[in-house]
Point group: C2
Chain length 397, copies 2
């Protein structure tokens, strides 16, 4: 009685098949948007079980850093896109060379993967970034301090760093030596950045089409805890000049690297009111989840439109304010959302459960969005519902 994979793969989908490399919550929410537009979704995953699994007509299991696996996956789809920016750029170039449509492009991913190159491109485009320098030894880091950066400085890994992982605030030459010698340290690994005391962290989602047309979503404030995004306030409680400037910078940043699709730009709002671009996330982004309920077209809808070569939708907010609160794992345990029923009883709370099979401390297990007439009311609703859900409390953390 049960369906075989062959049955699940439809003979001739009426529109097209979107292939997503990676099957986490970002792929799941992208798949939600894609299926609404009549697309079918195929997912390539390394894990046997993953959040987007319920939403694809075809799951492929394999190593996305292997060019042959990527090309085999791409054979059954019309356009390939990525859930994460850490896929081996050589494999992505091979995919394009084999004639497959990949958005964002291999060149863009390769550029953004190296945060030092990312910063160099942004600076070359005249966009504001904190002072930074390429460094090849601890001595060169210390020299930066003498050369105007001062202590402390931030030592940042060029690759495979996210959610603050790979960043270290160094206060003395001894701190630098220590970081250099840690596993994964060494020559070519780091660059150094001037420590920038900021007032708040802002973010802007941009959606940029294959034709270069772009739209930017409202500037939001992100409130982090232990370097992980916990709360997003939309729009950010900043003056309109700063909000507008952040959106302009974000669109310019997306253009400077040749972005296609939804694209996150994180910024620092400095104490003097100026802005500096912190880093780029070349994909749908946690700071844009609120757009599902709050905006005409969500970041996921616009990602799909962009990579398919379709017109972008309006990023306008339909309501005055929105707040998103992440649901982070409290510890190791199952993926069961304890207290879900209580959270669902909070009027106006939009609860998203990603469906991960296990929780770990700080793991993103879901989120809650609330809309409101003011940031205060939206935040109160979202926080109230989020406080009622717990993951990973069913066994000791």
């Amino acid at each position: 009685m049960e369906a075989s994979t062959a049955q699940r793969r439809r003979a001739a989908p009426p529109t097209a098949v979107l292939g997503i490399v990676g099957g986490g919550q970002l792929a799941k929410m992208t798949a939600q948007a894609a299926t609404r537009l009549g697309l079918e979704v195929a997912v390539l995953e390394r894990a046997r079980e993953f959040p987007a699994q319920a939403l694809d007509t075809r799951s492929s299991f394999g190593d996305w850093n292997d060019a042959a696996t990527l090309i085999e996956f791409a054979r059954g789809v019309d356009v390939v896109t990525l859930e994460n920016e850490f896929v081996d750029a050589r494999a992505l170039h091979a995919l394009e060379a084999a004639g497959h449509a990949l958005y964002p492009t291999a060149a863009m991913i390769e550029l953004v993967q190296d945060k030092l190159r990312q910063k160099e491109v942004l600076r070359a485009a005249g966009l504001p970034v904190a002072d930074f320098r390429r460094v090849e030894s601890p001595a060169e880091v210390a020299a930066c301090a003498q050369d105007g950066f001062g202590w402390p400085m931030v030592l940042k890994k060029r690759r495979n760093a996210y959610d603050g992982k790979g960043n270290a605030t160094v206060r003395t030459p001894a701190d630098v030596e220590r970081a250099w010698k840690e596993p994964g340290g060494g020559p070519g690994v780091f660059y150094v950045e001037r420590f920038v005391p900021f007032e708040r962290e802002l973010a802007v989602m941009v959606a940029r089409g294959r034709d270069g047309a772009s739209v930017s979503y409202p500037t939001v404030e992100t409130i982090n805890r232990e370097h992980v995004c916990r709360v997003v306030l939309a729009p950010a409680p900043v003056d309109s000049r700063a909000a507008d400037e952040a959106q302009q910078l974000a669109r310019a940043a997306a253009q400077s690297v040749g972005a296609v699709g939804s694209f996150g730009v994180e910024l620092f709002h400095l104490r003097d009111g100026s802005l500096a671009i912190n880093e780029l996330a070349p994909r749908v982004h946690n700071t844009g989840h609120y757009t599902i309920e709050a905006c005409d077209s969500s970041q996921f809808d616009n990602h799909v439109r962009a990579v398919m070569g379709w017109p972008l939708g309006s990023p306008r907010m339909q309501v005055p304010a929105a707040c998103m609160v992440n649901l982070l794992g409290a510890g190791a345990g199952s993926g069961e959302p304890l207290g879900l029923v209580n959270a669902l009883a909070v009027p106006g709370a939009h609860v998203h459960v990603y469906g991960k099979l296990s929780s770990s401390r700080g793991r993103k297990m879901g989120h809650v969005t609330a809309l409101g007439a003011s940031l205060e009311s939206a935040r109160a609703t979202a926080e109230r519902a989020a406080d009622l859900i717990r993951f990973g409390e069913d066994s000791p953390s």
Copy 2:
């Protein structure tokens, strides 16, 4: 490299599995809502290819009127719900007798399946319905005309009728004789209803929980073409007294039949300003699609909450007005949405493509919803986008 069905069925989903009997667009949109809440979805379908196929972790192929097939399907799921109300009630009773959770219940489905019994229950509950009578022969129909109904009257099939199919306006005894002799006519098939000249058709979606708690969505106006819903205006452009009364009647109707889940109530707004319940749709309903974008909790979200036994979400509209326009097949052809790209360029148009593999004249292929500050602006946007999409024009209709 490809996934087997076994891989798709996850070992231990963190929440639960919702089984849906039927895999059309209503199941697809229900699955979208269910997966957002962390549920997984299984679908039982008679067709090998269907719109919800992209959104389930397990497709079962089989006849849903067969009790053994239903019970086998239910073994792998926590709660079973229905996409359509035409499943054999004996099979549904057998499913419940085997200990499976089915919402709405077999008793409710059995009741609503017979429009005559439906009307009898509504009348017994004191709810306003057009005069109707059980009839067993053409002579009994004609007698109704003499007995106060007058000509014309409406001869309605008791079972398996939707979108106006099975209803005939009869103007003379000869019309009645003709209808009686048509294929599918005969004794026990029809009941007769007084012809009610109405001003407009209204509808209200109700969501009712397993505990009997219910919420009602705003009263909407439905504009039909050839008996098929074409446009829905939310809220209906009627005075608040009529709108409120329609909502009260709808909640009372849902209670009278023991509804669980989302539940559509169609009403006539008569020329004297009074209301009459036309018929019940014991499931998510075309007139409630606008709730996806317009309301705090959509009809699909609340259907899932209701059948799972979870608290209902708020049915409040987040914006002043919304309009939904159905995308109906122009003729026979593929399911490809011609002009989709043009429609996506209309700002504020939310385009839904169901992903059906083929079109036929009048078939529901998708819909467009637009929100606005007024019904006029929302309708203009939705109609503009809908006019740009065509299905089934790729071959002669």
